[in-house]
């Protein structure tokens, strides 16, 4: 008994000790001291361009130091066939690198004497803690997570430092020379620094950009602007192959973060709290997204001056790397740095150099046009201005910073001290303009970028190009080589209501537009060829359910009407439009010209096309007839409220414009006793005696009671349409049929209470980027349309689509 008692006592004591030790483990501080005693980085091999002659173990470096790769292993080794199991330690430099004197991979950043604490940091992944090495020595074997974190930290830190240095240069330049800089004067305000993400400690917003080096995602990386995180995942092709080992990809991701910062500098510096930040790209495919990807690629060139991105993480194992110069061996035959050989718009919009015979609608491929242009411009500045590569790159970055500060401005001023709103309509509607109504595309980007080029390097009063000015003829010629001379003037006078057509507005030399083709919008129309579809309908339950799930998941759409069954039970997949369905509509737009159209956009958002609740028939579509319910034109014209008057406040100022309104795109046909008339949908509500609470948007929204485009999915984008073709005939898969992605479709909600047999007509607007009269007001010297015009019909092709709702 005593023996068993002693044994039990011993067992309990041991148990207590075990429990206590695990308890102590939970109670340790958030950081743990790490020492890597291994020295696997030094293989003794003599191959490779740089060897670590020293010891990259923790004890082998001095305090605050370590080592990390300055480029990807392919570039460092010169071996395009590097094995996935290669010892990356061979490509670390012999000299140690300063990592940080902090005890964590978390540091401040400074620009122009202003410091942002906790600017950026690195962890391995998930909810991990920051780690602290022994004696602050950051040397680790390249096979460890600790090394990967140091690698990420070094790569991110290097590009942030360079970016901030160049932002200071750009800011100083803009404030020093007599041109309208877009930089806000308080860009480097200590109380509200706009050179980094916003910080508000009272709200718990730390504004820290965190990079995860060992993120738990496969063959993927991402930047989250909502959570300020960069996630660098793992490649599945081999074990222990991490994307972070390719710094060009890290720089690409940080490039997305920089795009976000640059677009919002004026918004942040204004001190106002806007509803949203400005983003670059709002759909699965749109041109703003393509520009963003091209610029993110360019941020790799920005760091290593190499015209290729992702050779190791993407190219070696996934055949997905991307060149940025036409003389890259990856390019298809025929691509060259000559005028006809440039990666030009729009022909190269769907081009993937890894699979050159395929045509793919993807922002990463269309973005190559921008990345190639940017690199070519650096080279051109080098040669024409006798600048070093570094200085030329800095100048190009300066132009980009100015361009984005202007284009993303939700104060709508465009520059400090502007006498009126010159861009993005007005603060109340800036986000709608940027996201849908007049979004950033290849044309607007190049026009604003070129304006700043003209203000600076092309300015003969400044003579900043080797003692003179960069020839604007030479510049326009280069832009045209890329098919990007899509603008007829530099639009120095902006898009404002009062001065939008006044003051200086320099024209582009027409003879320089050789390769770029501008097409009249009249050549875009609904396909009317015999035997050809005029549209495509998607109403399969599984497809619609998956689409709505994905669009809500990604945040592209906010909600679906409560009148729609939660499981889309009414979706019957019969290719018709039936009550209770959500349907995807893709208009079959036909390019009747002899040149490709690109950046085609169809809008189904509310616009200014009614008067007194009746449809105006004063547009090119001549719909409807006066006898069919068109608005009365015998009085009230030429003033606000008239069909010939475009709202100056996008229909939102009931004091200044009590008779102006925006109306939904879809009207309903109602048979009256003597005729058939077209009405806004509220009329049908009355006719069938339905309570307004059954409207798709509730009682307050009766004009789109029965058929409504889902906000966020109320526009469609098509990357390219070949001559004499539709999009569906242009981009077909290997089976010869088109693949409709979400951006190719406008999603409509169809109220279950619609009487079968009811006819609707939806009057939508369409345009494309290389369109002449979609952007150039020939009544005002081909100046840009004023922003207000985009509430109306002038910049668009009006497209009508009628359908009958069947049971």
């Amino acid at each position: 008994m005593k023996m068993w008692g002693n044994k039990i006592q011993t067992l309990i004591t041991a148990l207590c000790l075990v429990l206590l030790s695990s308890c102590v483990g939970d109670l340790t501080s958030v950081t743990s001291s790490v020492t890597d005693l291994t020295d696997s980085s030094n293989s003794g091999s003599s191959s490779g361009r740089s060897n670590v002659g020293g010891d990259n173990s923790t004890r082998g470096v001095n305090p605050n130091n370590g080592r990390y790769l300055k480029d990807n292993p392919i570039a460092l080794s010169g071996n395009n066939n590097l094995s996935a199991n290669e010892n990356l330690g061979k490509y670390l430099s012999r000299n140690e690198d300063f990592i940080t004197s902090n005890n964590q991979l978390l540091e401040s950043c400074s620009a122009k004497g202003v410091t942002r604490t906790n600017c950026h940091g690195v962890k391995s992944a998930s909810n991990a803690n920051f780690f602290s090495p022994s004696d602050n020595r950051w040397g680790f074997s390249t096979t460890t997570s600790y090394f990967r974190q140091v690698q990420a930290f070094g790569s991110v830190r290097d590009i942030i430092n360079k970016f901030h240095s160049d932002l200071v240069f750009s800011y100083n330049y803009g404030l020093s020379y007599p041109y309208q800089t877009a930089h806000p004067v308080n860009l480097f305000s200590s109380s509200n620094p706009a050179f980094w993400f916003k910080q508000n400690t009272s709200l718990g917003i730390d504004g820290t950009l965190l990079t995860y080096s060992d993120c738990d995602i496969d063959d993927n990386a991402f930047f989250s602007p909502s959570r300020l995180e960069i996630c660098l995942g793992k490649l599945t092709v081999a074990n222990n192959l991490y994307i972070v080992s390719d710094p060009t990809v890290t720089w690409h991701e940080v490039g997305h973060a920089f795009n976000q910062i640059m677009l919002n500098t004026r918004n942040t510096a204004s001190g106002l709290t806007f509803v949203h930040d400005t983003n670059l790209g709002y759909q699965f495919y749109d041109e703003a997204g393509g520009i963003g990807e091209g610029l993110a690629d360019f941020f790799s060139f920005y760091m290593n001056y190499r015209g290729h991105f992702g050779e190791w993480a993407l190219g070696r194992f996934l055949r997905a790397s991307r060149p940025m110069e036409e003389n890259d061996p990856l390019h298809a035959p025929g691509v060259s740095e000559s005028t006809p050989g440039r990666i030009s718009y729009p022909d190269f919009v769907p081009y993937d150099p890894n699979f050159p015979t395929e045509r793919l609608e993807d922002i990463h491929y269309s973005g190559q046009i921008i990345s190639h242009f940017m690199v070519a411009l650096v080279k051109s500045i080098q040669s024409n201005c006798s600048m070093t590569r570094e200085n030329a790159t800095q100048r190009v970055m300066h132009l980009l910073m100015e361009t984005f500060a202007h284009l993303g401005d939700q104060t709508a001023l465009g520059y400090d001290g502007a006498p009126e709103y010159t861009i993005n309509h007005s603060p109340d509607h800036a986000h709608d303009w940027i996201s849908t109504v007049n979004p950033i595309n290849f044309r607007s980007f190049m026009q604003v970028f070129s304006k700043y080029f003209k203000y600076t390097l092309g300015n003969s009063s400044l003579n900043h190009c080797n003692g003179g000015a960069f020839s604007m003829t030479t510049y326009e010629s280069l832009v045209d080589d890329y098919g990007l001379l899509l603008f007829k003037t530099y639009n120095e006078n902006g898009n404002g209501l009062v001065n939008g057509h006044a003051g200086i507005n320099t024209s582009v030399t027409p003879s320089e537009r050789v390769k770029t083709v501008l097409i009249d919008k009249s050549y875009l129309k609904l396909d009317s060829r015999p035997g050809k579809p005029k549209a495509f309908i998607i109403d399969d339950q599984e497809d619609i359910s998956a689409a709505m799930d994905s669009l809500k998941a990604s945040g592209q759409i906010a909600s679906v009407s409560g009148m729609i069954d939660p499981n889309f039970a009414y979706n019957n997949g019969n290719g018709k439009i039936s009550p209770g369905e959500v349907v995807g509509l893709s208009l079959s737009l036909y390019n009747n010209s002899n040149s490709p159209m690109a950046g085609v956009q169809v809008l189904a958002n509310d616009w200014d096309h009614t008067k007194g609740g009746k449809p105006c028939n004063t547009f090119e579509d001549n719909w409807p007839l006066a006898s069919e319910g068109a608005a009365d034109l015998t009085s009230g014209e030429g003033v606000e409220g008239g069909c010939d008057f475009v709202t100056e406040y996008n229909g939102s100022n009931t004091l200044a414009e009590p008779n102006e309104e925006l109306a939904p795109v879809c009207f309903v046909e109602i048979n009256e006793t003597s005729s058939t008339q077209w009405y806004q949908q509220s009329k049908l509500l009355t006719k069938i005696g339905l309570d307004s609470s059954y409207c798709l948007g509730g009682s307050d929204s009766t004009d789109d009671c029965f058929v409504r485009a889902i906000k966020g999915a109320d526009s469609a984008n098509y990357s390219i349409i070949d001559p004499k073709s539709t999009w569906a005939e242009t981009l077909v898969n290997e089976n010869g049929v088109p693949t409709f992605n979400f951006n190719n479709v406008i999603f409509f909600e169809i109220n279950p209470w619609i009487p079968p047999g009811t006819v609707f007509n939806c009057r939508m607007r369409a345009r494309f980027t290389n369109c002449d009269d979609c952007f150039h007001d020939e009544d005002n010297g081909n100046d840009n349309y004023k922003d207000k015009e985009f509430s109306g019909a002038k910049p668009f092709r009006v497209i009508n689509f009628s359908f009958t709702v069947i049971d």
Binding site: G5, Q9, T13, L19, L20, S22, D26, S126, N127, T201, S202, L203, G204, I205, D216, I217, D219, N220, F222, S224, P225, S226, R227, E229, V249, H276, N279, F284, A313, L318, H364, P427, H431, K532, F536, I537, I538, D540, D543, S545, A547, M548, D549, S550, S554, G555, Q556, I557, A558, S559, P566, F568, G584, T654, P738, T739, F740, N741, F742, V745
Partner: protein
């Protein structure tokens, strides 16, 4: 002897309670909340656990705003002025309503995580609307993760706007979002 065993068992009890407290003390991270759509189209709701936050790579909270401090709402946009009329009133359960709204028309197995950012006032046609800025992270039924900012009505939880969506690279096989379409003649 009996006293000895009683003391040991008491010690074990104390240690056990201590361990439970330590392992659970940060299990509910106050600012993140989880909403999950079940197979029966119901919505479950709870404070986000450490394990869930680890899955969505959520940052570990380093500072919490004291609950007893009244939030000052910031006006959104240019029109910061005295507003005398409001079109809604803040509801205490706005976040729960938001979670339900986010999961409407979503597939079973979907999870959304909501984190408050700030309370604001949006001016619409001269009237004020109480709104909430949040960060939403979604894990789809297939396990894909997305994040974005959203503006929600403080009374109904209805999502008014979304922005700052995640930019995915998807280097490998790009997901096929192709939909089958029927031609209309």
């Amino acid at each position: 002897m009996k006293l000895k065993y009683l003391a040991i068992f008491a010690l074990i009890g104390v240690i056990g309670a201590l361990i439970y407290y330590i392992s659970h003390k940060d299990q509910h991270i106050a600012s993140w909340e989880t909403f999950e759509k079940t197979q029966k189209d119901k919505v479950k709701h709870h404070k986000s656990t450490s394990a869930e936050l680890k899955k969505i790579n959520a940052k570990k909270e380093t500072k919490r705003v004291p609950a007893n401090i009244k939030r000052e709402r910031v006006f959104l946009g240019k029109n910061k002025k005295q507003i005398n009329e409001f079109i809604n009133q803040p509801a205490s359960d706005w976040k729960e309503k938001l979670g339900h709204n986010l999961l409407d028309h979503r597939l079973p197995g979907t999870k959304v995580f909501i984190k408050e950012v700030s309370g604001n006032i949006k001016v619409e046609n001269g009237k004020g609307r109480y709104v909430e800025k949040v960060i939403v992270t979604t894990i789809t039924a297939e396990g894909k993760q997305y994040s974005f900012n959203a503006l929600a009505d403080s009374e109904t939880g209805k999502v008014l706007n979304t922005w700052n969506r995640t930019i995915h690279e998807e280097f490998g096989n790009k997901p096929n979002r192709g939909m089958s379409a029927n031609p209309v003649y």
